[in-house]
């Protein structure tokens, strides 16, 4: 036995209050797993929904409490400097949870598709007799709830991680549940499982690059803490080459999750194949988390070397906006269209990020929230347009919906106008915020490309609107399901927030502004 141990080790101080939101989410996820193991089948669904919503609401309440008790003004590091509790961190955690609650409402819906949008037994082979049986009768697998809690907890950890190791662990914690959730669609199971394979293989590939980047930066700075990397970037005697290779590798991992252009190939297939509520979760929460990580790395660890890498990321932002918009024009499937639109939107957020000053942070935070709510409502509406094969996602099937279902078509039109950036919607205020921040940061070229790409991107959105109102419905046109209480709530929240932030953006912009200070 070694006598050194007990004397030498002093446990780091962990401020449990400051990291309570993350602990609540991960802890409740464990409760969910236990409920899955011990409760009878009939009780699981109500208990899981309750656990899931209570966890997120409690987490959100704790975050608001922390923000009010001035953690945003006096940021702290805790758990051996592994976690930063600061303004952007709390804001992003709150954003993940607010969007997560709405997505959970969509996930929990069971009346639109009888039994819910998820497969009852993922292990039953698709197309078999047992599969037809479960598609008709059995309710969804309820493991989806603890998995989504793990994913949300991981995202919250990801946006507040203060060193690369914690960030990498958090990246995996939120990725693995997402890979699994992609494979659980009730209808079109083949497509869903292929999406999961594709997402998994490419995700694992990109996270290998991420961890290689960590190794390079560790070699460069002798530490994985963001602050130490920032110090080493100024004062280290070593060649900067090591740092730039490391940064490039990290950026590959992060931009993959954010779906920026050279690393976007998975997005349309996965968004299309995954169950629509999970797609909604990925389009909103994952995007917030990925950009949370990007913001923290760029603004804390690499702020002083920004002159060297900003042009490269700028090129990626331009490519993302332009290629996302061009490919969106050619799409014939509504889920793929929304996927390409989410790629282009990643470019707009990146434009805000590259402003590299305080309003760059606040405008990006604002944009992520506005886009998240709009995209959640849009995917929520996609779940409602159905025929006997499930969701009718092909655009031609949407022809004439304006006459069959005026309310749905009206709300969808409003959301499309918001995506297109028409004034009085949150899409306009969000784009205005990021573009003006980028102009302030001297990124005029980016803004020009951004405006051009949003003009181009308006075309596919308006095409959907024209299709819904000006074309005759087909004879076998899909029906529009009556949304259950949960979906209705999600849609109402999404649409109202889109309108509210369009006419009164200062509600959220002020919060984002006061939160926009990273702790180093």
């Amino acid at each position: 036995m070694n006598p050194v141990l007990a004397a030498d080790i002093t446990l780091p101080h962990i401020n449990y209050g400051a990291i309570a939101p993350i602990l609540i989410l991960l802890g409740m996820a464990c409760v969910g797993v236990l409920a899955e193991a011990f409760l009878p089948r009939t009780l699981r669904y109500p208990v899981q929904v309750l656990v899931s919503l209570v966890a997120q609401v409690a987490g959100l309440a704790t975050i608001i409490g922390l923000a009010l008790s001035n953690y945003a003004k006096k940021p702290t590091l805790t758990a051996g400097d592994a976690l930063a509790v600061d303004g952007p961190g709390l804001f992003l955690q709150g954003a993940v949870l607010v969007l997560g609650i709405v997505a959970t409402l969509l996930i929990a819906e069971r009346s639109v598709e009888r039994g819910g949008a998820f497969v009852a037994q993922a292990a039953v082979t698709a197309g078999s007799e047992a599969d037809a049986e479960q598609a008709r009768r059995q309710p969804s697998q309820t493991e989806i709830f603890p998995l989504s809690l793990f994913a949300l907890g991981g995202m919250m950890l990801f946006v507040s991680a203060n060193d690369l190791l914690t960030m990498f662990v958090a990246l995996e914690v939120f990725s693995l549940p997402l890979y699994l959730m992609c494979a659980l669609a009730r209808r079109r199971r083949l497509l869903s499982q292929e999406a999961a394979v594709k997402y998994f293989l490419l995700g694992a590939f990109s996270s290998a690059f991420f961890v290689y980047g960590i190794a390079m930066l560790y070699g460069f700075a002798g530490s994985v803490k963001f602050h130490d990397i920032a110090v080493a970037a100024i004062s280290s005697g070593k060649s900067d080459l090591l740092m730039f290779i490391g940064l490039a590798m990290l950026a590959i991992g992060l931009l993959f999750k954010a779906a920026a252009v050279p690393f976007h190939v998975w997005t349309p297939d996965v968004y299309q194949g995954a169950p629509t509520p999970v797609t909604a979760l990925m389009a909103s929460c994952t995007k917030v988390a990925a950009f949370g990580g990007i913001l923290r790395i760029f603004y804390v660890a690499f702020l002083d070397s920004r002159w060297d890498w900003r042009p490269v990321i700028g090129v990626i932002a331009v490519l993302t906006m332009v290629i996302g918009a061009i490919l969106a024009v050619t799409q014939t499937d509504i889920k793929r269209l929304l996927a390409y639109s989410s790629i282009a939107n990643a470019g707009y957020v990146l434009t805000g990020v590259l402003a590299m000053q305080k309003d760059g942070i606040s405008s990006s935070l604002f944009y992520l929230v506005t886009y998240g709510f709009t995209v959640l409502a849009a995917f929520g509406l996609v779940t409602l347009v159905r025929d006997q094969d499930g969701e009718a996602t092909h655009l031609s099937r949407w022809a004439g919906l304006g006459r069959k279902a005026p309310v749905l078509a009206g709300v969808f039109t409003f959301l499309m106008l918001s995506f297109a950036g028409i004034p009085l919607t949150s899409g306009f205020t969000g784009k205005f915020a990021v573009f003006s921040a980028a102009l302030g940061g001297g990124q005029t070229t980016l803004v020009i490309f951004g405006v051009l790409s949003s003009v181009l991107l308006a075309f596919p959105y308006l095409r959907v609107v024209v299709l819904m109102y000006l074309q005759e419905p087909a004879a076998d046109a899909p029906t529009v399901a009556v949304p259950g209480a949960l979906t209705s709530a999600a849609l109402a929240i999404g649409a109202i927030v889109t309108l509210l932030l369009g006419v009164w953006p200062s509600v959220l912009l002020d919060v984002a502004n006061s939160a926009a200070q990273f702790v180093g």
Partner: protein, 271 residues
């Protein structure tokens, strides 16, 4: 195997003071292991047979494990061998066996120039990274892990100390990852059986219960005019038995030609 450095000075000074911290044996071992590891890695991506690929990867990982042990990281070396070559690669081998041992990768290019592009990207990346590191590290010398091991009283206690102080939160969160992996594997593999499985006794009771025919079931074509598998048997009461034919076979109406009595003794229906 290695020099034992019980030097009291701090790491930096020591690194400058003793450039020859690694012994000749170590160098030779590394050259040998490095070449084997690299060769096996190349063989792994080039091998046509999936099984060979997996075994080449095992050798690469094993070499790296031994290398860690030589570099005075015995714990990490053993973890590499036990977890990587022992557990993870066994999992790979199981899956390869499940999907079919002779699933070999057809090395035909589907996209023209994909192989060349792959080689270029791989080599380019390796060259860029390797060259970059070589330039960046210029004059830094290895000092071996011995003096690092001297603090905290050895390798394993030192690792434990770090893991439970500096990186304790990441360590705790890893548990969430493992729970997710376990839950995920279970979701994708577990099939719920509907109801209890019948025991032999229950099956036997059921067979002799009232309203059931305990006798063997009629085969297809029995009492019928044709012995085709698509012809249902006719039960003694004259009804057709749906259970005499496979559910996969479409039943069909018999034509007059089918039902015509066929004279098998004189050479079939050709007359």
């Amino acid at each position: 195997m290695t020099h034992v450095l019980a030097h009291p000075l701090a790491g930096q000074v020591l690194a400058l003071a003793s450039p020859g911290a690694m012994g000749t044996g170590e160098k030779v071992a590394f050259w040998v292991l490095g070449i084997i590891a690299l060769g096996c890695a190349i063989a792994m991506v080039a091998a046509r047979n999936a099984m060979h690929s997996a075994l080449f990867l095992v050798v690469t990982m094993f070499c790296l494990g031994i290398f860690y042990i030589i570099q005075a990281g015995p714990f990490i070396g053993m973890a590499q061998i036990i977890v990587y070559t022992g557990a993870i690669m066994m999992l790979f081998l199981f899956v390869l066996m499940l999907v079919g041992r002779d699933v070999s990768d057809s090395l035909i290019e589907t996209l023209r120039g994909q192989r060349t592009a792959g080689i270029l990207v791989g080599l380019g990346l390796a060259g860029l990274l390797g060259g970059g590191i070589a330039r960046a590290l210029g004059s830094i010398d290895a000092k071996g892990l011995e003096q690092a091991n001297a603090t905290h009283g050895g390798n394993v206690p030192g690792l434990a100390a770090l893991m439970f102080t500096r990186y304790v939160f990441a360590f705790e969160v890893t548990s969430a990852l493992l729970i997710t992996a376990a839950v995920g594997a279970m979701i994708l593999a577990h099939v719920q059986r509907n109801g209890e499985k019948k025991t032999q006794k229950e099956q036997s009771r059921e067979r002799f219960a009232e309203g059931n025919h305990p006798a063997p079931k009629a085969g297809p074509g029995v009492f019928a005019h044709s012995n085709s598998v698509a012809t249902p048997a006719i039960l003694p009461d004259g009804t057709r038995s749906a259970r005499s034919i496979s559910p996969l076979v479409e039943p069909r109406e018999l034509t007059a030609e089918d039902t015509r009595p066929k004279d098998t003794l004189t050479g079939g229906g050709n007359q």
